[in-house]
Amino acid sequence: MPVPILKQRDYLIASIQAALNDEDLKRLREALVAQVGEFRSRGVIVDITALDVMDSFAARTLRDLAHMTRLRGAETVIVGIQPEVAFAMVQLGLTLEGVAAALDLEEGLSYLDRKTRQGVRGVSR
């Protein structure tokens, strides 16, 4: 099932609505990395509110996605991780290191606004 990607101002928003298999995840990553350049986006938000499990492949794909988009000039923020999912992830050691996370879409947008206002140095936080 393809994930719709919405363009909103300088940002791309991908909202995952159902559990994705590895193939879907890879396709999402490729689509986002490509579209970041196409739309000259400054930020990417991946909303995973609907996910109630996160395996190591998904976590790695999201981390790679964040690093790849950063290389293409866009900051990625993962939003909507459920509390139970978050705790399960850290117990499995899937801590999404170096990837920004925010509570929900609204928080993610305000995070990106803050980041992009800081200019190019923003990525180093």
Partner: protein, 298 residues
């Protein structure tokens, strides 16, 4: 509805138990005031229920007596169960003990049994028939009341345990987006887990962006709890909240370094005050003292 009448196997089931029971209840109802008084007297004599006044004891005794007879007569213990529960609710907070309640119900059983003895002592066969009907019913009733009491007690204990557990780790909103989690006492793995769950839920509900975990009140910490703390910090970050840990005692600081817990990801500040100030800085708050009104004339 629970069927109360238990027929011993040697007893033919032609419904004569019903007749015996009805006869028996009629007898007990006739002698109601006398037997009730005898029962209340024996309760006082045994020095039970000293936390209640004699009037109260007599009132409850009357209610129990009537419920008892009703249960004997109808075979339904539902009403008695309900009464036993409400009675337990009333008397448990006053410190009535399980042994007292059980003892009192057994006393009533004995008082009634004796009255039956004296009524039927002339006819041994008839007495046996009466007791065959009475004993299982009476035991069942005693059981019901005792179980009801113990269950109510357990319910209260569970409720209190829950309350203590909740209280031991309060998650407190201090300002918009800022939570404080004061940890006090020994943290065992189970408590640590529960604390994490509560914190993550709190972050969600309060939309917190910064959390200050104060562990001034924690006397010691072992490796598993320390690792759990690190995990809590990471899980909070996945929800978009920054965690500041404050109040690490000298002992805990040494333990953590000695056992090699990775504290690189932890944001630590000396005390709670410093932690809140740091949190306010992160959130963009600035606390200013109110100007003295006398300093500004107009």
């Amino acid at each position: 509805m629970v069927e109360l009448r238990v027929r011993p196997s040697h007893y033919n089931s032609d419904g004569s138990t019903d007749i015996v029971l009805r006869e028996l209840v009629a007898h007990l109802r006739e002698n109601r005031s006398h037997l009730r008084q005898e029962w209340a007297r024996r309760i006082t004599e045994t020095k039970w229920l000293t936390v209640m006044t004699p009037d109260e004891v007599f009132a409850e005794a009357t209610a129990v007596y009537d419920n008892y007879l009703e249960a004997l007569e109808t075979g339904s213990i539902e009403a008695l169960e309900t009464y036993a529960r409400s009675l337990s609710e009333r008397i448990i907070p006053r410190g009535v003990e399980t042994q007292e309640v059980v003892g009192i119900v057994l006393l009533l059983r004995d008082v009634l049994a004796r009255s039956l003895f004296s009524k039927y002592r002339a006819d041994f066969t008839e007495l046996n028939r009466v007791l065959d009907a009475y004993e299982p019913a009476a035991n069942r009733i005693a059981n019901t009341v005792a179980v009801g009491f113990v269950q109510e007690r357990e319910r209260i204990i569970r409720q209190q345990q829950e309350a203590i557990r909740e209280l031991s780790t309060p998650v407190l909103p201090v300002r918009g987006r800022l939570l404080i989690l004061p940890m006090i006492g020994i943290i065992d793995p189970q408590r640590a887990r529960q604390l994490t769950e509560q914190l993550l839920r709190g972050i969600r509900v309060n939309r917190a962006r910064v959390v200050v975990i104060d562990i001034t009140g924690v006397p010691a910490m072992d490796a598993s709890v320390a690792n759990h703390l690190v995990q809590t910090v990471e899980a909070s970050r996945l929800l978009g909240a920054t965690v500041i840990v404050t109040g690490l005692s000298a002992e805990i600081a040494q333990t953590l370094v000695n056992i090699g817990v990775d504290l690189g990801k932890m944001n630590t500040v000396g005390d709670l005050q410093g932690g809140i100030e740091e949190a306010e800085r992160l959130l963009g708050y600035k606390v200013l003292p109110i100007l003295e009104p006398s300093g500004n004339g107009g």
